[in-house]
Every structure is written in C-alpha cells, then in structure tokens.
Subunit: 136 residues, 6 copies
Amino acid sequence: MTESESLFSVTVRDHMMVAHSFQGEVFGPAQRLHGATFVVDATFRRTELDADNIVVDIAKAGQELNAVVAELNLRNLDEVFPGVNTTTEFLARHIADKLAERAMAGDLGEGARELSGITVTLHESHVAWATYERTL
Amino acid sequence: MTESESLFSVTVRDHMMVAHSFQGEVFGPAQRLHGATFVVDATFRRTELDADNIVVDIAKAGQELNAVVAELNLRNLDEVFPGVNTTTEFLARHIADKLAERAMAGDLGEGARELSGITVTLHESHVAWATYERTL
Amino acid sequence: MTESESLFSVTVRDHMMVAHSFQGEVFGPAQRLHGATFVVDATFRRTELDADNIVVDIAKAGQELNAVVAELNLRNLDEVFPGVNTTTEFLARHIADKLAERAMAGDLGEGARELSGITVTLHESHVAWATYERTL
Amino acid sequence: MTESESLFSVTVRDHMMVAHSFQGEVFGPAQRLHGATFVVDATFRRTELDADNIVVDIAKAGQELNAVVAELNLRNLDEVFPGVNTTTEFLARHIADKLAERAMAGDLGEGARELSGITVTLHESHVAWATYERTL
Amino acid sequence: MTESESLFSVTVRDHMMVAHSFQGEVFGPAQRLHGATFVVDATFRRTELDADNIVVDIAKAGQELNAVVAELNLRNLDEVFPGVNTTTEFLARHIADKLAERAMAGDLGEGARELSGITVTLHESHVAWATYERTL
Amino acid sequence: MTESESLFSVTVRDHMMVAHSFQGEVFGPAQRLHGATFVVDATFRRTELDADNIVVDIAKAGQELNAVVAELNLRNLDEVFPGVNTTTEFLARHIADKLAERAMAGDLGEGARELSGITVTLHESHVAWATYERTL
C-alpha cells in the first residue's frame, strides 16, 4: 500500500466438502483418493464506499459465494475437473474467478462493478490454508 | 456431575482428510462420493492427577491420536469400512474406541490405566461437529 | 457420566443479530439499549446411533435451528419479550426449549424422538458465552 | 508489496456490543432495529522496529483501542451517528481514523509517530467481517 | 446428566503468559525452562437463573477471573509454586479453586452462592488444553 | 496490489512454547521472566502456480517451519538470543528470515526458488499477534 491510500473490504464465509486425488510424486500419499472440507472466505475490495456506506450487498455476496461453492460441494473433483490437480491454490483461483465473472455480470448489484479486487482463502484444516487474490 | 465430584481432562487435536459416500435417502446429496477434513479432538478424563501432576503424558497422547488418525488419513473410507455409513458420529466412536484399546494396552503409559473416560469430537466444518464419549 | 455409559452428540452452528436492553442495577451500562451477535451452537444428544449411523439428520437439525433463530434474528428483543431480561442464559434456554418442542413434534425426523437431551450455547463475544442443557 | 520491501505489524483485539438500524432497501430486514457484537482487530504497521524491537507499545495499543471502542460500546449507534448507516465498513473506518488521530497526537508513544498505516477489521459474526486499511 | 435435569452456565475468557519448567522424565524437553500463554476459560454453573435471569454477574465474573489470573501472569511459576510441576491440569485446578473461594466469600455477588459448580479450561496452544471441573 | 495483478499463497501453522524477559521501561511487568505460546503461521507467496498447481510442497513447507520452530521451542530465549528483546515482532522476522534462507537453499523444493515473498504471523494470545512480511 503506497502513500495516502485506503481500502475497504467485506468478507463472507461458506464451505464445501469434496473428494479428490492428486497426480505427481510431490503429493505423496495425497495421490490416493481422499477428501477435504474447505472453509471458503471470499473478500471483496473497494477503494470507496457507495452511497449506502457499503462495499457490496453482503446478503448478495453470501448468496453468490454459496452459488459458486454449491457447484463443487459434495462432489468428486476428479470428475468435475478431469486431469487437473485440484489443489487448494487452484480451487481458490477458480472460486475467485467465478465470483469476478458474477461481479462483472452485475449479479452482486450495480455497485459491485466498482470493486477493485477479490481475494479467496480456502482453509483445508486448522493448520493449512491457501489464498488467491486478483484485481477486477 | 453429582455433589463433591471433580474431574480432570486433557485434550489433544489432530486432523484427517478423507473421502466417503453415504447410503440412505436421509443423506440427500451426501450420498455422492465427497470428502471431509475432520479436525479431531481427543479428551482423556481422570478423577485424580498422578504423581507428576498430569492426567496423561500429553506427548504420548498426541502420538497415539496421530497413530489412530493416520490409519484413516488420506483414504477413501468406503474402502476402509465397506458397506458402513462412516458418519462423523461413527468415526468419533471408532477413534475413541481405538484410543481406549491403546490406553488399556498401556500405550499411553502406565498412568493411563487410571483414565476414567475418553471423549472424541470430530469437527467436519466451522458449523458442524459430532462427539462420542465413553467410560473406560 | 457413570460407569459404562456412552453418549453421542451432533452440533450445528448458526447466528443472530439482535438489539435489547436490561433492567436491574447489576447490568450497569448494559441497561442501555445495545445489541449482540449471538453465535448459536445447538447440540443434540443420544445414547445410541440409529440404523443410518446418525444421531439426527444434520441437514434437518440445521434447518430447525435456523428456523428458531430466524424468529429472533434482526429484531429488538425488548419488543419480542416485553419486560423480560433477554440475557444470554435466557436466550439459550429459549432456543433449547423451542428445539425440544420441534424434536418432540417430529420436525427433526422420527429418529429425533430418541434424543436424550439438547444443549444450546450462545457466544456473545470471543470472551463470553452461556450454555443451557436439558433432558428430553 | 514491491521488490525488497518488508513490513512489521502488531494487532490487538477488543469488542463492542451495539444496536443500530439501516436505511435503504438493500439492507432488507436489517432496516429493523437490531444489533451486533463487533470483535475489533486493530493492526499497526511500520517498516522498521524501534530500539526496543517493537512496532508500538502493545499495552498502550490495547488501551487506546479500548478507549475508542468504549465510546461506542453498549450504545444505540442510531443516536451516536444520527442519519448515518453505521455499517461494519463505516465503523471499521471510524475506528481506524480515531486510532490514527491518537497515534498522531502521541497517545501511543513517541515511536507510534513512525507508524506507516493502520488496519481495522470488525467481525460481525463467525461468517462475515469487514476491513478498512489506511496509511498514516 | 440424569432424567429431567437442566443446567445453566456462563463462561468468561482471560489469559496469562508464564514461564516454568517441569521435573520428571515424562516431560522430556519440557524439563527445560520454557513458557506458555494460557487462554483461561472459567465456567460458572447453576441449576436455576436468579431473578435477573442470570447465572452470575458476568462483569464481576470477568473481574474475579482477571484478579486470579493476574496473580500468576507474567511470572516464573517455578518461583510462585516452588517444587511443584505447574502443569496445565494443576493450574486449571488452582484457578478453579481460587474462583470457588471467591464465590463462597461473596465476591461474585450474593447470587453466586447458589452456584453448583465451576469448570476451568486452560488452552496451552491451538492443539492442546486441559480442564478441571468441580462442584461447589 | 496494482492493476491486473494476482497472487497465490499457502500458509502452514505450528507453535512453540518459550520463556523470555524484556529490557526497557516500555515493557512494564513483562520485564520479569515470563513466557508465551506462539502459534506461528508461515505464508509463502508466488505470482504463478507451478506445473503441479501448487505454490510450494505443503508437506515440505510444514517440515521446514517445524524445523525452524524446533530450534526455539521449549527454550529460554534469553539464553538463545542474549541481550536481545525477543519480542513477537522480532521473532516473526527471525522465523521469516530462516525460512527465506531455507527456500533459497532449495530445502522447500526447486519450485520454492520462484517464491516472491514470505509472511510470518505469531499469535501470542487470543487478543494479540504480530506479523513480518518480506520479499524474496
């Protein structure tokens, strides 16, 4: 953050419970079919508040996150993304990109077109998580 | 807890990442192959402390919990427990019973034979968990 | 817990955001109109699992908790419960009793009639919470 | 963060319990008088440590945060900020700006004049929070 | 919990940061001088609420817990309790017993004489904690 | 974060339990020998994922963090760093720098040479933490 900058953000949390396996020696025993609960935090960033004093309609933000997560929830990701290592990092980017599409399409309200960025964090356990942040 | 009782306990935490599916209409979309991270809390109870002022050797407790969890970690539970609904409740009992066997066998140290009970909680997400408690 | 007992439980979490004020000198500045986010944990207890290996249908449990919490969410409790000190303790009992009614009425499924008890914890902040537990 | 940069920060946590209501259709049922517990995290940033190896006197930081939060705690924000939507975002900025004033006035110690920025996060529940960050 | 019982409780959280060492081979490297932050949860139990709908004055409960913790905070427990293994279990009992003395002396208010029990949990890390519960 | 930027990160958590004392009036009673549990979060940042879709081998990341933390765990830091105020901020930098050395030496795998930065957060309690972030 450079001189005299400021930034607002709002974060909503949801989760999904998925199966998957990884390809590549680096993954060791995680090459076997296993699973994870991903607690998903989606952050919406903006430099100024709108006329209602909000970054984004938090109810809409939660609904959109839930809709994106629902596409993956209770599934085997090896079938949803064939041939892809659906790592926590990959999934964070996937969800952030899907939210960015929805924001750009106006699904989070007109004001959401003013968002400057989105960050998604996936907690895979109490001791490990991954984050992807992008501009809009 | 009745009059004039007291009770000590020590809890250690570990986790496992597994795939599984459920059989039965009550499970809805969770009948599909999916997965979970289970954050596992194992509690060891005892009415009096030993001469070292401990309930149980906490390092040994952590090692034994890790050993029990490792048998399930990064696996498809549909293969480990064929034909069984490996619900959070079922897994909590399974882990508690395995820890009880190890305590009775002396794997947690001689003092652990004085344990009065074991409780295991499995957190399947930030909004849901299950517990099984038993006497020894 | 006496000799040779065992107990299962399942817990689901929801929350509500309410206004209220208290009457009585013991409450000091909390006699003023203020508010709270209550993170609500509802625990359902049972001595044996059902044929599906569950304590209760966790989806139904979450829906029923949400329905009970929705009656209070985003309200001024001074209007919902006139003349009552809606302390965290009081609200924990209120929610537990409402859940007990629903369980007895079969709203959590037939198996829920086998529940032995319900516990409700309301977290009013990161440093304070209250619990009410009752038998069924 | 650009090449070869580094940054220290220290965060302290406090909380407040307030009532408020919102104006505007976007808020839906939150237009009703309701309330919230805000768990408040205040972060103080600095590029170099001082001679004591600290960013700021953490005791003073906690006291100043408590003083700022105390002005709002156990109040109806509709009276403290008439006609204003006291959203989580708005309150994060309000608290950050108050802390910035105090830092500039020397209330956090002489060294705090070297702070480069302040970030304030308000957690309104276990599933939603807002952040405001600014330079000094 | 037997048939038709019910129980209320209120919990407050504080913390202390102490040094200590242990004597006995079971402690391994923890025989060296080291330290811990103990996050301390004190729970006050009661079968019925008082006329104000509370278990205990939560402000007084927090003050009394803080007073008990302050006697140990920022100290070397090897000096406070010479020759004693100040394990997490031991400290949980120590704090519970001190709180019980204060409750019996009326320091938590007259109503606190109706308390049926106290439970103290000390979290020594994000993966280990100990609890002591006693009747009053 | 400027226009059109994106960033991945992975974080792993460990902890250490240490004794220390501080020199300087600013520290007040923390000048006495005391201790802390530091829950340590190490974040590894990178602009692009590698061919396996990861930022870094998370197993190796956990092992390296554990190795760095083990050098300090269960020790009196007044002896490890004579004459130094081993504040939370100082320790965050120390651990980040040690991890940076290991990353540069290839201990986190070849891909870790592509890391753009490391952030280390030390939680000293549930209400205070410090962070150090640096580029690589």
